[in-house]
Amino acid sequence: MTLRSVLIANRGEIAVRIIRAAKALGLRTVLAHSTADKESLAADLADETIEIGPPAAKKSYLNIEAVVNAAKSAKVDAVHPGYGFLAENAEFADAVTAAGIIFVGPSAEAIRLLGDKVMARQVAALAGVPTVPGSDGRVTDLAAAIAIATRIGFPVMIKAAAGGGGRGIRIVGDADEFARQFPQASSEAAAAFGDGGLYIEKVIERARHVEVQIIGDGDNVVHCYERECSLQRRRQKVWEEAPAVGLPDDVRLRLCASAVALGRAVGYSGAGTVEYLYDDATNQFYFIEVNTRIQVEHPVTEMITGLDLVQEMLRIAGGAKLSVSQDDVRIQGHAIECRINAEDPYKGFMPAPGTIETLVVPEGEGIRFDTLLFAGYAVPPFYDSLLGKLIVHGHDRADCLARLRTALDGLVISGIPTTIPLHAALARDASVADGRTHTRFLEPWLETDFAQLARARENA
């Protein structure tokens, strides 16, 4: 069937993005929102809105029953979960399906399988995808765990099987520390995730974060090349690019082929991302995890391929086959995305909700701004601090960086502090321009280079 209507079970810029994509396909759009999001851009754009609960996400956006009831009462054909909230919750996918409604994304089984980090690692290994040296699955016995850690070499990471997105990870430097941390990690994982299962991985000291966008229709899977997200603060991505900087072509081919092999192995349907660590020193890549949803940084892939990933997700959910073959997907130029957050970069990234006084969005060739903002909008304190994503496309990376500097200078958000100054500084940094970055680049850089800029600003 072709979808006629969709309920958006999310908020913020991604709700706006999904509503626009659905409308472009002629779908009736229904937004499920909390009381805090009654006055929002997404609520304004949607054809219909349904209130699902109070501001706290636990009582609204994470309330499976409330969301499914909203979808039933709105009589929609499908539910799009966006990212975050219930997007990777297999129970939610099951509940939507049980209500006779299509879940826009992979099957609940695929979410469950790939959401268990140990299972995902085994699936990856079986599909021939290189994994970070570590334990074959879960380890429970301390002596056996120490033997594994000693074999692969310290430092190692103790990771929670049910973790992910940077949560539930401890880095230990030697066997004594390992013996102390291992039992603690298990009880902490049990408390945080309801599953005390642990596994062990080697620490790749100077790694880049590279990930491959895949999209499948249940039978066929194609990749849309890779993104690089090495600039991170507290394991949260700050700046993303496509394609990855300086990746040799043969490595790119093997990397993307491995992601497709993994997608095929599970009969993947919808948009997904296979995440890897890439070791510059050896040109080796290692599987980390699969995200079974659309990602925040999907626009950089759209900019270099010309695809609309959200529209493609909706078409596939409606039963269509992939609209492109692998040969149709080509890289054109370079794209960079800056996450603009409601945080004060001069005050330790303190979150800063509040009312937007003015909003000026730069316009021009290759510039896109995905946002939930409008002048006069009161950014609520209840959700994450993402205000928008400035995405810039150029003929090549140098051209893209030049356009990005101009676009950042033209982007004005007043009323609350934002991370625009951080991005303006990164866009002018020599190491960033040369692609000499890795996952542990940004935090020390903030302490040195950015702190220096902040002092100069104070003295000016």
Partner: protein
Amino acid sequence: MSTEIKSPLPGVFYRKPSPESAPFKNDGDSVAADDVIGLVEVMKSFHEVKAGIAGTGIRFVIDDADAVMAGQVIAEVQA
């Protein structure tokens, strides 16, 4: 006399350090000025709320995981 303890930040108020833990304080407990009585989550980051005043017989007026505005009363104590 009864003194109000107000939230310094807007966000979501939590009475426990984690969902499985015991509350920082139960109704009726005594508090010291430096005691943490809860957390306010603002944009996914957590900030401790201290009593700010010593007292007895603390009584919470909002529930765990309720939304709070900056300046809203969280609890009352006899100081």
